[in-house]
Symmetry: C2
Subunit: 290 residues, 2 copies
């Protein structure tokens, strides 16, 4: 937000002295968090996708929030389904979507009509965000996942990097054969309308920088525009040494409360007027690769 | 959000019949709006930027909300300043920023210390959004610009496509020599901390699909990564026939109220559970090129 060279100039002279006294930034707080404030992400829920250009993106599947759809997605990965898919749609300020050509035969054993998993009973370990939300009575976290709640039920929210399951008209809920991720302002009108089965862990920039599609809803119009996915692997299926490892900050920790306060009240020297609040989609828990 | 071929299949058989009875979508409502529901965007506030690869993006300057900074930006455009700039920073889920190399001499006549324009008195023509906001007492529109208000003061909000003015540490407010646009979840913590001087009218996809920078804060690390801007022109300085023309939907119209209702309550056949609300950054007024 700044002429960086000048900024570095300032830091080198005055601001380094002030930095000791300045409130810590959210990322500084996360970086200084004790190991116990982090939760290990299960290798059985990590899927590594490799694009034809060699670039990768990695997702975590929400096996506790969306067990039926996640079970399908794992079966699809292990049956080699995603090697038949490409990025077929990039709609600016909305989604990047990947899927196979119409009528590609699904592997055996896929649940073709998975039941709805849009909502679940709000669990006791829900951690609330103490700020207003436009769409729900409250927002917060279940384990480390961003959710909204009406007090009784809770549901995952469509934030940047959420992984959703493409579907046809209801009652279809999608098989998991076609997935998308959110690349713009959170489309919260999709909450409870489309299944969320995961989130991006890394490599988001390899999806967001793809050319926007020029067809209806951002679909690519030409075959050659589609970036094929050449590999999809579950981390736990790889040899131990090759598994990428990730951790997510726990919402039930003192570090989280400090981080949240810093998120909502950005400090001097740059900020003049702290917002005093933060929305759930700008308060996604920090994820780090080990 | 869907296997498009199948979707089209459905439309061709059943849904076309249902479509007559289905509630209109927000874009259908905007498309059907009478001419009087649209406001012409002043050619003197439109700036057309051309990148070295020939692609363009076009912005509208907020001359009424931010007159001092906009006056500077217009002077910079007319003095050829932006032909010395490049895209220097692309930070995923945050901003694309363009500026000149450090120590490039500014043209004469630029106000080097423009006064703050972060807030203004809430005007009588403020149109309220009837939904909760995380950050302010209320949100809505002044003319066609998205703003937040505490009841007395109002300020522009950092939504997707907003044009902000890079600055150094306060009391600097930025000259306009370095600009950015928002490319992710709205960073509302920047509201009232950085001047907003405009918004993208078209060509956003030519900014958002740029490769993400690998340096600190998404700055490019190599000169060759920077996409130069080879031309910046104010539309009113072009011959009449060459001026791009845009209109924005007026917030003080019946069409707007219908559009807003449809935005907050997405209809069947696709949607199962309408959100019943929409946040200001997902309710940016439709803009159309003529």
């Amino acid at each position: 937000m700044i002429k960086i060279a000048k900024y570095i100039g300032i830091i080198s002279t005055i601001a380094l002295i002030a930095a000791d006294k300045a409130p810590k930034s959210p990322s500084e707080i996360a970086q200084a968090a004790p190991l116990a404030a982090w939760s290990q992400i299960d290798a059985d829920n990590i899927v590594i996708f490799t694009l034809k250009d060699g670039k990768q993106f990695t997702i975590e599947l929400a096996d506790k929030l969306s067990p039926i759809h996640v079970n399908n997605i794992k079966k699809l990965v292990r049956a080699g389904w995603f090697e038949k898919t490409s990025i077929v749609r990039v709609q600016d300020n909305y989604v990047v979507q990947w899927g196979a050509p119409e009528n590609t035969k699904l592997p055996d054993g896929i649940n073709l009509k998975p039941q709805e998993e849009y909502e679940f009973l709000k669990p006791k370990n829900f951690v609330a965000l103490p700020f207003k939300d436009t769409f729900a009575a409250q927002t917060g976290y279940v384990n480390s996942w961003p959710v909204a709640t009406d007090g009784k039920k809770a549901w995952p929210v469509h934030c940047y990097g959420a992984i959703g399951v493409g579907r046809d008209m209801a009652p279809d809920t999608g098989t998991g054969q076609e997935l998308y991720t959110v690349i713009g302002q959170s489309p919260r009108h999709l909450d409870r309308n489309i299944n969320i089965s995961g989130r991006i862990l890394s490599g988001m920039e390899n999806l967001t920088a793809q050319s926007r599609g020029t067809g209806t809803m951002g679909f690519y119009e030409k075959e050659e525009e589609k970036q094929p996915i050449i590999s999809a692997k579950i981390a736990s299926d790889l040899p131990e040494a090759l598994r990428p490892k990730y951790q997510v900050l726990r919402a039930d920790t003192k570090t989280f409360q400090e981080w949240l306060h810093a998120k909502a009240n950005r400090g001097a020297p740059f900020f003049i007027k702290p917002a005093g609040a933060v929305d759930i989609c700008n308060a996604l828990l920090p994820i780090r690769k080990q």
